[in-house]
Structures are given as C-alpha cells and as structure tokens.
Amino acid sequence: MKPANGYRLKASSVAEVSRLLDDFRTDAVRTLARGYGRLVAQSAVATHDRACAGLADHPQDPFASACRAVREANPADPSGLVAPDLNCVVALHFVRDAVLARFVHGGPQYLKAWEAMRGVVPWGWQEGPRPADVTERSWEMRGKYWQAATPKPGLGALHFTLLEGQLPAIGWAGMHRYVPGYEQRLSLVAAAIDKALSCGAAQARERAAAVIPREITKDALLRPSRPSARPRPAAAPTGAQRIRSEAEAARKERKEKSKRAEVRDAKAVEIDHADVVVSSDGRTFVAVPYVGLDPETRVFLQVGDGHLAVSQGGVQFGHVSDVPRSAIDALRLCRTVVMVEVDGKGGGRLLRAKHVAIVSDIGLAEGLKVPLGAFKRNKGGRGAEEMAKWESGQ
C-alpha cells in the first residue's frame, strides 16, 4: 500500500518514539473514555427510564449491565479488532533512519488527536502527480521511503492498537458526565411507550414525562424509586397493563374534553383548499377553512401559476394547489378580495371571520408572456400596411 495519508515521526531515537506514542495514548484514551462513557451512560439511563415506565425490569447492577450491553453492541470485527467504533490503530514502519506511520483505523477524533501531535508530520506518498506544496526532490524521497517501508501490502508493520481485549467495566464515575439530557430521555421513553401501547405520540410523551425523574443521580440508578425492581405478586397488573388502563381512562377523558372544545373552536391545520366565489354583483369572495387568522393584521393572497398561498404577518397559513385557471383569472382581476373563514364542522357559527385580503400576483409565466405579446402582430391587422411602408423606407 502506498498511503496518501502517511506520516513521518520526528524522532531520531527510541526514547522519542516511545514518548510520542505515550502522548498519543494519553489523548486517545481520553477520547475513548468519552465515547465509551457516553454509550454506557445512554444505555444505563435508557434501561432505568424504561424500567420506570414499567417496560423493563431494573437490573441488579445497572453499571455492569450497561457495560455488558455496550460490549455486546460493539463486537469485534472479523479481523479481531475489539470494538471497531471505539478503537484506533496506527501502523509504524521503521525504514533506515526514519519512522513512518499510517493511521489505519479510528474515528475522526483520533485522527485529529494524531495529527495534532507535535512530532507527527504529514508525509504521504502515492503514485501519480505530486501535490503542489511538495518539492520534486522531497516527493522522490518520500516515494523511496514508502516503497522500502511497504514492499508488499499488509506485510511487516508494527501496529499500535489502542484497545486490545475487552472494553473495561466502568462505574458512575466514568459515565456521570455523559448522562443524556431530559428532553432526549423523554423522547426515547415516549417512543418506547408508543411502540408498546400504540397510544399516539403526544400521549406517550405525557406518560413518559409523568414517570421518569428529571434528574439522574447515582442513587436513582442504583435504588430506583419505583417498586418494579423487587418481584411483584403475579396477580398485580404489570407496568404495561397499568399504563394501558390509566392511558385508556385518560384518553377517554381527553376525547370528551376535545369534543367539547371542537364544537367551540374547530380550527383547520392549514388552508389546503379554497373556493373562489364571484357574486352576482361582481364581487369576488374567497372562502377558506377556518384557521383563526388575526383580524387586526393584513392578509395577503398570493396568486401563482396554478396555486394560491395565504399569508399573514410573514406566516404562511396554507398553500392551495390544483387551482383551476378560471379561478386564477378571476383573482388576477382583483386588487383585494373578501376572504371568509368558514368552519365546516363546528355547529353554530359557520362563517367565523371576514378579512380583506390583498391579492398579489406571484406568477412567473404570465409576467413573461405579457411583454412578448406586445410584439406579436397579425399580418393583415390594423396599420400593417403603414407599418410595412415605414419599415421599408428606413
């Protein structure tokens, strides 16, 4: 292999090489601890939160089980490299008086740490044109060294592997800095509850917020407040059943409440359809679903080529596509239209509000066609003869 991303170590003695590798190991171990600690923290907290929601059991030793879970999630790759996502490998070649290195494997943080080392100089080489910032002579030398270092691919390199054997077991001290935030935990648990009970995202979120603690402490992980850690009597409802029955009752109540609210105030999510009505005295009205436009702020109706958009105060309230040409033409004739918000579902007031909307033409195609139309003349049209005479006289 002729590495384009090779390096040369600025070292002339074994002591310097070993010092350099020591420094890199210190940096890399720090990066490893960060990445691994984050994974373990996520796993431990997720298990704890799921257990709080009654979807899992509290493990006896949360830290050990989280470490085990992370270990299982990061198995060794076919070449035997432990936890490839967290590991890092650098190959070293000793050629005459030079120590060459290749960054073989590792995440971008490791590469950054490696390249930031004072004794590591980018010294890559490959067959092909040399980069502009390397002199001809130096490029030739690099070629010679690398060819001597790697006569055959995969042969004769010394490997520095950050992690050999198992990922270590860590406790609260190693992970407490990386405990995920409340929002992240909430959405995770809500997704789990939603999956288990299929009760809708909003409700699952509410449930999750009710059961998980806001702060995660060591004690909370070791001694969860919920009783699900100790064995329950068989007759008692399981966590999932309990949540389901409570959720059922809550849902019923909410449905009734929302039904009452719906009658009072049934707003559409957006204006996705509209009817253009021209009255017998020539006024143009646009009837749209009730979205609760503000009566104090100007409404704009933008007419494009085949679509309408309603906006107010810079907020777009909807976009209507598939608008027939006739409607577009009727709207283009107006400077303002009366927009009526119509409530199709709620009883009582069907016409909810009236606005004067300013019509603006945002169509592109029409605007381009109009000036071009002015140059088109019929052959035998009015004044054609005079025009021809005048042009021939020029």
């Binding site: 359809h273 009817d275 253009v276 009255s279 020539g282």
Partner: protein
C-alpha cells in the same frame, strides 16, 4: 381589516348580498372534499340569511338612519356664510394673466 364573527351571521354585511345568487364558484384544491366545501357553506349561509330577510333589514335600517339624518339636517337653521371680502377675479381675466409671459 378583518372582523371576527360573534353571532351566527356576524360577518355578513350588505356586500354579501350578491352571494345569494353567485355568478361563479371555482373549487380550488383538495378535489377529494366534495361536501361541505367552504364556498358551498358560504353561499348556503348567505342564502339562509337572505331568506330570513337579513338584507332587507339592512336596507330598512339604512333608510331609517338616512331619514333621521335628513330630519336633523332640515332642523338646523342655516345661517348665510359670513362675507370676508375676498373677491375672486373672473375666469377669463385669470387665464389672461397666466399666459401673459408668453408674449
């Protein structure tokens, strides 16, 4: 700019009168919605309002208001405008002055 309905036919005013017999209705967007289109609801509500005599009542109210105004106007005694002594030149003389510098 806008008006929010507080009563059932709160937003309907005289300008809506022509909607009882609309000239054109164009349906835009969501062809899957066939019943309860906002345009149909608008027209049927205005028709209902018209059949209940809503627009007639508007006209009557306006007439009675105008009558009242006219009565008030008629009751005010008109004094002749005071004469401040400002005399305007006749129109032909003004025109003469305006074009005088073009001689």
């Amino acid at each position: 700019m806008g008006e929010r309905a507080v009563t059932e036919a709160g937003v309907i005013d005289e300008t809506f009168a022509g909607l009882a017999e609309p000239a054109e209705i164009h349906r835009a967007g969501r062809p899957d919605i066939e019943t309860g289109r906002p345009g149909d609801v608008l027209v049927s509500e205005v028709k209902k309002f018209a059949s209940e005599g809503g627009f007639k009542k508007f006209a009557e109210d306006r007439d009675s208001l105008r009558k009242k105004d006219e009565e008030i106007d008629a009751s005010v005694k008109r004094d002749p405008l005071p004469d401040f002594g400002v005399r305007q030149q006749p129109a032909d003389a003004r025109d003469f002055e305006a074009t005088g510098d073009s001689e």
